[in-house]
Structures are given as structure tokens and as C-alpha cells.
Symmetry: D2
Subunit: 297 residues, 4 copies
């Protein structure tokens, strides 16, 4: 029974690349956080300390900055694909690559009713994401968003649930429902109008959150996911992860006050964590698309 090197991968995490396009008086700005991850023929680096086949993480960082100049950062999916393909095609020892990108949105500052040419305020709110995996000739593109915080002040119930010895929760037919949504959708095949699709998926998600009368966060997630697949043929699967950010009705009776769903305490921990996905009944094998560097250990 021998001890052997198991799965391994390495890369540069969180390169904070900012790209300005200044060919005209009206500049453009892209603000991203890029992480690369490679695997392949790197056994000797581990077992013998032999770096002959190892592309330094410093080089991977340089490549992220250089590609921001050479290829630009128009759509983060395309930028990630260009980087992923480069590592797999141009570096012999690399069998596979994953490139993950977060994009932060900026709004032009408006001065005197007119958008400024070269000044922005950061929008805050949700982050746009892309995760691209390239292995040989195969590619997976997963677009997404995170930190989309939404709330509804009515139109949400939670009742009729299973009760056991440890159940104390009261049923409710009118509660506040709030979450910070992470959504990731996997494309079936190569190209899409990534930016337009992102805006459209985002809108579908928030519309369904608002309009579905929710009997459970599970139901809301399913309706959100289903709606995205129904309106986007190119998306094979969507995964949603949603912390239930509890808003507890405060008991104001001791102070002689009623509280019919008006004053809440927004609690931090613990929180429910509801995760669901919608897929197609003929979906192809998702392969390694959903893996991330953070999940390794």
C-alpha cells in the first residue's frame, strides 16, 4: 500500500486588473478580479521539487495584465476564455485550466445632466461572475452573479412543514423574505451575447422573485431557475444558492404596541441556506464546470 500524489492544481488568485479604454475623449472602464488555476504534468514539482514544467504563478499574473491590453476586457467570459485557451494550448505541461473572473460595475457620474467622460461611482450591489474551464479541446462556460440582495415585505409564507420533537417554529402566512442570491448558469456550447444575456437573466431572476407568491424559498428558487431556462435555449443548467436572511418580527406587546409586520430585526447568524438547480432532461454531462478552487480543501 503505497502513498501517492493525489489531485493537485495551482494558480494565481485575485489579480485586480483595471482596464481603461481611452481611444476617445469618452473613456471606458473595466474593473475585474481574475484568478487562474492550472493542472497537468506537475508531479515532479511536488515529489522532486523540479520546476522545469511549472509556469510560475507570477507569469500567470503577468498574462492576465498583458491580455487586458492585447485582448481587452469587453466581456469577462471572452477574456476568461482567451486566458484559459492560452494556458492549455501554449504551455505543454498544462492539461487543464480554470479562469474565474468577478466584475465590479461602475456608473458614470452625471454632471449637469450629462454623463461624464472619465469619472465613475462604483455601483455596489451584485457582482457579475464568469468561470471558464478548458481541458484539451473541451470548454465549459459558467456565467453568474453573486451578492444580489433582494427582499420582499409580503407575498411569502412558510407553513405545513414537517414537525418532529425539535420543532418549535410557528407557521406563518405573511413574512418578510430576503436573500443574497448567488446564481451561476452553464452554457451549452460556445458563444453567446454574454452581456445582453447577463442583463436578461438578472432581470428574469428579480422579476420572478418579486412576482412568485412564495410558499418556501425552495419554490421561489425553482421558479427563478425554470424561468431562466425557458427563456434562454443556450443555457443548459442554472444553480442558485440563497441564504435565508431572517427578518424576525419584534414583539412590541410589552410596550403596548402592536406589530403587524412593520418592525423587524434583521439577524446575522444562523441563517437558512437553500440551494437548488434547474436543468434540462437531456442535459449533457456537466463535467468539471462547477468546480472552484475554493472547494478543493
Amino acid at each position: 500500500m503505497g502513498i501517492v500524489l493525489g489531485r493537485n492544481q495551482y494558480g494565481k488568485a485575485e489579480c485586480r486588473v483595471v482596464r481603461v479604454v481611452r481611444d476617445e475623449a469618452r473613456h471606458e472602464l473595466r474593473d475585474v478580479n481574475v484568478s487562474t488555476c492550472l493542472w497537468g504534468d506537475f508531479d515532479a514539482a511536488h515529489t522532486d521539487g523540479d520546476q522545469t514544467r511549472v509556469l510560475p504563478t507570477d507569469t500567470q499574473k503577468n498574462t492576465c495584465y498583458a491580455y487586458a491590453k492585447e485582448h481587452g476586457i469587453d466581456e469577462i467570459e471572452d477574456y476568461a476564455l482567451a486566458l484559459g485557451r492560452h494556458f492549455v494550448e501554449d504551455v505543454d505541461s498544462v492539461a487543464g485550466a480554470r479562469v474565474e473572473v468577478e466584475e465590479y460595475a461602475w456608473d458614470r457620474i452625471v454632471v449637469g445632466g450629462r454623463e461624464h467622460d472619465h469619472s465613475w461611482a462604483r455601483r455596489g450591489g451584485e457582482v457579475r461572475t464568469a468561470a471558464v474551464t478548458v481541458i484539451g479541446d473541451a470548454e465549459w462556460v459558467v456565467s453568474g452573479l453573486s451578492d444580489l440582495v433582494v427582499v420582499k415585505s409580503t407575498g411569502s409564507e412558510f407553513a405545513g412543514f414537517l414537525r418532529d420533537r425539535y420543532t418549535t417554529l410557528a407557521e406563518t402566512h405573511d413574512r418578510v423574505l430576503a436573500t443574497s442570491l448567488t446564481a451561476r448558469w452553464r452554457w451549452d456550447g460556445a458563444g453567446a451575447d454574454w452581456g445582453a444575456a447577463h442583463a436578461d437573466v438578472r432581470q428574469t431572476l428579480v422579476e420572478r422573485f418579486a412576482d412568485v407568491h412564495s410558499l418556501a424559498l425552495q419554490q421561489t428558487l425553482w421558479e427563478m431557475g425554470r424561468a431562466v431556462l425557458e427563456t434562454h435555449d443556450g443555457i443548459a443548467e442554472i444553480r442558485l444558492s440563497a441564504p435565508n436572511k431572517h427578518h424576525f418580527v419584534v414583539d412590541l406587546a410589552p410596550f403596548g404596541l402592536d406589530n403587524p409586520g412593520e418592525v423587524f430585526h434583521a439577524d446575522d447568524r444562523p441563517y437558512g441556506l437553500i440551494q437548488a438547480s434547474a436543468t434540462r432532461d437531456d442535459a449533457s454531462d456537466p463535467g468539471p464546470a462547477w468546480e472552484t478552487s475554493e472547494a478543493f480543501a
Copy 2:
């Protein structure tokens, strides 16, 4: 030479109060983080453990929630004033109170081109703040904002500075200027249309950031602060705190690429921290207006 109790204060920090107004089908939402801080006749609580005169922090918390029902949270300045006055006027042992409020902004979700009645997405970006101090009959109101992240891709220089033995910085006549602004402005006297004023000050700040050709972040801050005082008679002083979020031009020459201000590394630490204020030459004594609980120790 005796040892004596020195300055002391206590309160409840970070009550996460959410207030829904649901009198009509179109609900309203206020989402705030409230902290209270009291001082007064509390020596015995320290030296003898005698709590007779101590209003528990739990009671202060309850009061924040109850006032959200009784008084509502229309403008955070008014909500903070109501709480501060209550503690000073209604609790004999309290000589002074400070109430600090952060407000998080939400945008209504738009469904089919129409704003939804009871669903919102959190705006992200900057936080609106208010800090009210009440001592006996005297009151100070400081409105503000924090985490307003702005950037300009040109229109900023830094040159002609003092050089000493430890200076290596190159002069530049075109750089990226970025900061995460904290601004706090002190009102002279009682009332104002807090919300309208806040929106107007915020707009003045970002407009000056965009329009001032900056020779230094110091100059930009001064121009921002001066413009606010020029346009708001009721504001006695404004303080601005601005980390210089460095964007370093990446050297792409080793890769055969030029980089005329197009690709930057957004660095984390260290950062410049520039702090300046604008005031009036006949301003009254600011009193304890600028103190915060965090600064105590």
C-alpha cells in the same frame, strides 16, 4: 495621588432595524443600523457595581425597535434625534446621548416596466449616515455618507512635491485617481430637509470630484468641501476622509507592449489617507459633534 474613574460611556451597538410601512398596497422600506451611547451619573455602576441608575443596553435596544413603530424612520436624522432626546429627557441619570445611524438604500424591483409594490433589490454602494449628540438642551446633528467609491481615469496629477532622502516617487501629470469617500457635515442649528439635502450634497461631491482637474487629492477634497458649504447655508462644517486607492500602471514593456494609462493594478495596502475639512470663519464651537464610540479607545 489617587486613582479615579475617568471618562466613560455605554450603549447598544448595531441594532439592525427594518421598518416596513404597509398602510397601502405600495409598501415602503427602511433598513438601518442604529447604535446608542449614553453618559452621565454612572460612577457607582463602575466603582460599586450598583446598577440602580443604569438603563440596560437591552432596554436601549428595545427603545430603538419601539421608536421605529411609534415614530417611524422617515429621515434617519429625525429618528436619531427622537431617540437621543428621549434618553436625555426621560432618564434622570443620563446627561448626554449619542445616536448613530447607518441607512442602506434599496431600489424597487421593476417588473414589466413598473415598480413593484413590495419587492426591492439592495442598491449597494454608499451608506447614508447620521450622528446626533444631545447634551441637556444642546444638540448637534452630523449627516454624512461613507463608502462612496469614485474613480477618474484622467484629469489628475501629482508633481512638484517635496523630496527628501527617502523619496523615490516619479512625478506624474496623468494618473488614475480613486477613493472611497467618507463625508460628514455638521448642521448649524436644528432643522433641515435632511433627505433632500443629502441627495444634493452627494451630487455636489461627485460633481466636484469629476470636474476638478486635480493637482492632489487634498485639492479635490477642499474643492468638494468648499462647494458644499457654498451651496448649503445651514451646514457649518464638512469633513472628508479619503483613502487614496492606488492604481499602479503595469509595466508591459517586457512583453513588447506599451501601456499609455490603459492597464492598472488596483492595490490594497498600503494606501494614502487624506483628510480635510471646510468650515466657516465664524463657525461656532463644534462641541462633541465629531466624536464617535469607536474613537474612545
Copy 3:
């Protein structure tokens, strides 16, 4: 081509349970953060909003607190196993459960040279972890630690690496090596003296970090992992995730000072992220042991 519900799971995250054992004058303290995650026959909850088979996350929370009383929290692996088995065995609709626990260490305060009976200071530093997965009769136990920050001021090289067009890194034969280690090791079969094993694995990891002359962080990780498997027959696999926390030698030459590895800037981002594992050549299928809730989407 139909749209169907895909993979889903739900639970309560981050229950902050503190357990005091006070049967004697000398109390004991356990401080943990518990997260539960269930999957099974929950399709109707998504597609119809039917909660008949859904054990509320609030009940899962209650169970974590009740089990802290009924079963105690002696070893976090046993506490997690008890919770996981309960959900799978006692709740019909549950097919599988994952329970993740973080434990924070406390040191007794020493007064007059003697350990205090009921007062502690939090140790800080690394966190002990356990992740237990139960599916029907099968169980996987993964013990671990995170946030173990280690540094060595010499005994580390990085040279002889692959160079391409984007490589600018200089070779070095003496550098600072620092990381914040996450390690997780999977047990083969059921029982072990979890606490003793944890202390022993932790010691093996830091000893190998210190003693291995490192030609790359990859090599150090491999030597750490191999040593753990060599000394613990019951461990089937160990995974290590190690950010390379870069310490850059500061150029002091402009100030007329040399700097032979004495003054460093500890940088934040980007960082290398090196991940490797050691396993046995006859290891059984790891099953779902390594999955986490965070990795879902």
C-alpha cells in the same frame, strides 16, 4: 426537451453553539460553529411549494443546540456524526446529510500561576474543523484545520521554472515562505481518537513545514501530506490548500541601504494558490466526502 429540478439541498448555516460543562468547580468550554445540510425527497417543496416533507432549518438549528445538551460536544467529529445520523435515520424524507463544524480554541487564564476554573482567553490562530457526510448506512468523516498561518525566513527557493513570453520573475535561492494552511484529511472507516489525532497531524504538518528545505510550495505540501499518511494508517487521503502569501524584498538601495533578506513587504493580493493532496494507491472511492455547501453554486 423538458426542464426539470436538478440537484438541491438545504440546511441551517452557522449555528454558534457554546457548551459549558459545569458539573464541577472547574468548568469546561466548547465553542463551535455548526452548519447542517440535508437532501432527499424534497421535489414537491420546490415544484409545488409543498412543505409536508421538509424539516425546517429552524428545527435543524434547535437540534444542534439540543444535541449539545443531550450528547455534549466532546469531539466535534462525534457531535457531527450524531447530528448527521439523526437526520438520516429519524427523518424519513432525508436521504443524506452533511454536518460541518468549526471549533475555536480557548486557553485557561492563569492567575497566580494556577489555571482559572471558569475563565478563558481565546487562543486565536487556526480553527479545527470536521465535516461529516451520512448517506443511508455510509459515512465519511473529514477532519481538518484552517487558518494555520506559518512562515519561514529562510530554507526556501524557487528556481529552474518554465519561462515563456510573459515570464519576468527572477530566480531565488533564499526567500521567505509563508502561507495560511487549510488541511482536510479523510478517515478510512469509522472511529479514531479524533482529538489526539488532530494534535498529532497538526504537529506533523508544522514540523514538515519547518524542516523541509523547500524548492517550491508544491514540494512542501507533498512532504507534509505524505508524512501525515505515513504516520496515520486510518487516514485515507489528505488535501492541502495553501495561499502563497508573498513577502517581497524591499529595494532599499535608493536610500543607500542594502537589504539581504531583512526587510519585506507582506502583500495582500494577488497571491499564489497551491493545492495538493496525498492519497493511498489502493484508496477507496472518496464519494461525496469533499463536497461543501459553499461549492454548490
Copy 4:
């Protein structure tokens, strides 16, 4: 009524300096976070953008690194004093300087029962701090610590407090008391054996926390502060800031379980924030010693 430049200051925040002493086989390590802040004759930088008298923050950063080589970082108070004096004495336009340092502790890794020469694990837990203010010939030294998290499982009461309309809290004669202590003590005059004093003050604080039967956190803080002044003639004043990290007894009665102070929920927010100080009745004016850059706005 004119608008004028008010108070202003600037500096470089969070220089992450690591210093290795490697004169012998057994290396020494110092790991600090340094922030500088200057004020003086800088009006023209604001009003005219004239940088002639402005020492760039980049130069301040360089100085922090260069001084780590030239002066070393033996005691952080001495390192901060050297930097502060340099800025005030050597730069004509500087009237005053504040230098704040945080130090992170590392423990040598023990291999085979013997401390390793050049490998350490970060201790975690509390941070040692120093804040030095220099104005002309005057100097203030404030030593301290932060993030010292302590808990006691009994020996704490809270009863006999003031009740008003909003009070619902039950009295208790046995509760968990936990806090994350920030302590800062101001030295009267120049020199001290900073490191030995720090260890001694830290021990005094935790001993008093453990041994005082607490009728309120206020009382515990006072007893801690008083004990420090009693045992250190050179300390003029000590300030303590202590969040009351609430541990709520969980109601297990619905599950047929009693809970006599055994199972707690450690809550996040809101928290009590108790702040108190001990001083001498003939203490000199504390001057600007307690100010920090964060408190400016």
C-alpha cells in the same frame, strides 16, 4: 462669512512591514502594520494644489521600510517614536505626526521538542498596539492591545438595574460574560521597558477579568483599569473598550431538557458596548494622545 480650510492631516496607512534579524542561525521576526499621519503647513496643497511642502505618502511608506532596516523594530513604541520624531524634526513643513503600529505575534515552531531557528506559526489572538504623537518637542506614547477575547462561564451578574417603559430584561445572578477587549494606556513621560510592561499589563487585565466577581461589565472594566494604574506608576491613564458579546441561554424546555447555564447561543449583533477609563487625580492634560486617523470623519 467666509469659507476656510479647516483641520486637515494626511499619511500612509497600513504599511505591512516584516523585519527579519538574521545575524545568527537563530533568526528573529517582527511583523507589523504601520500607519503614519502628518499635519502642518499644508494649506497651499489644498487651496492651490501646490505640493512644494508636501512629503508624499509614498515617501512616508519608504521611510517606514528604511527605518525597519536602519533602526530595527525591537519595541514598536521605539520604532514609532523614531518615525514620528523624524517627520517632525527633519521635514520643515511638518508640525505634528502620529504613528500607529499594530504588531502580530508569532510562536516558534517546535520540532522534536526544540524551537526551530527560522520557522514560526502565527499566534492569533490579540494584537499589540502603539500610537505615538509628536508635536514639536512634546510626545505622547499610548501602548495597547486589541482583540483580546475573554470569557467567563460564571461569576457574573446583572441585576438591580433601572427599569423604564421599554425594559424587558430579566435579572440574572449567573451569566456568561464575554468580551473582545481593546485597551490603551498612556504613558506619563518618555521611557519604559515597553515589552515587559505590555506583558505585565496584559496579565493584570486578564487576571482581574477572571477574579473579579462581576456585577456589571462596567465594574469589571474599572477594576481592570485601576489595577493597571496601581501597579504601573508610569501609566497616567488607561482606556478600555469592551463589547458585551452576548451569550444567550437557549430554551431547551420544549424538548424536555433543562438548561442550567450549559448551552448558549453566541450572538453577533446588536452588542452592548461598554467603555471606561481609569486615571490619576493629578493627571496632566492628555493632549491629542487619544486621537486616531479613523476618528477624523
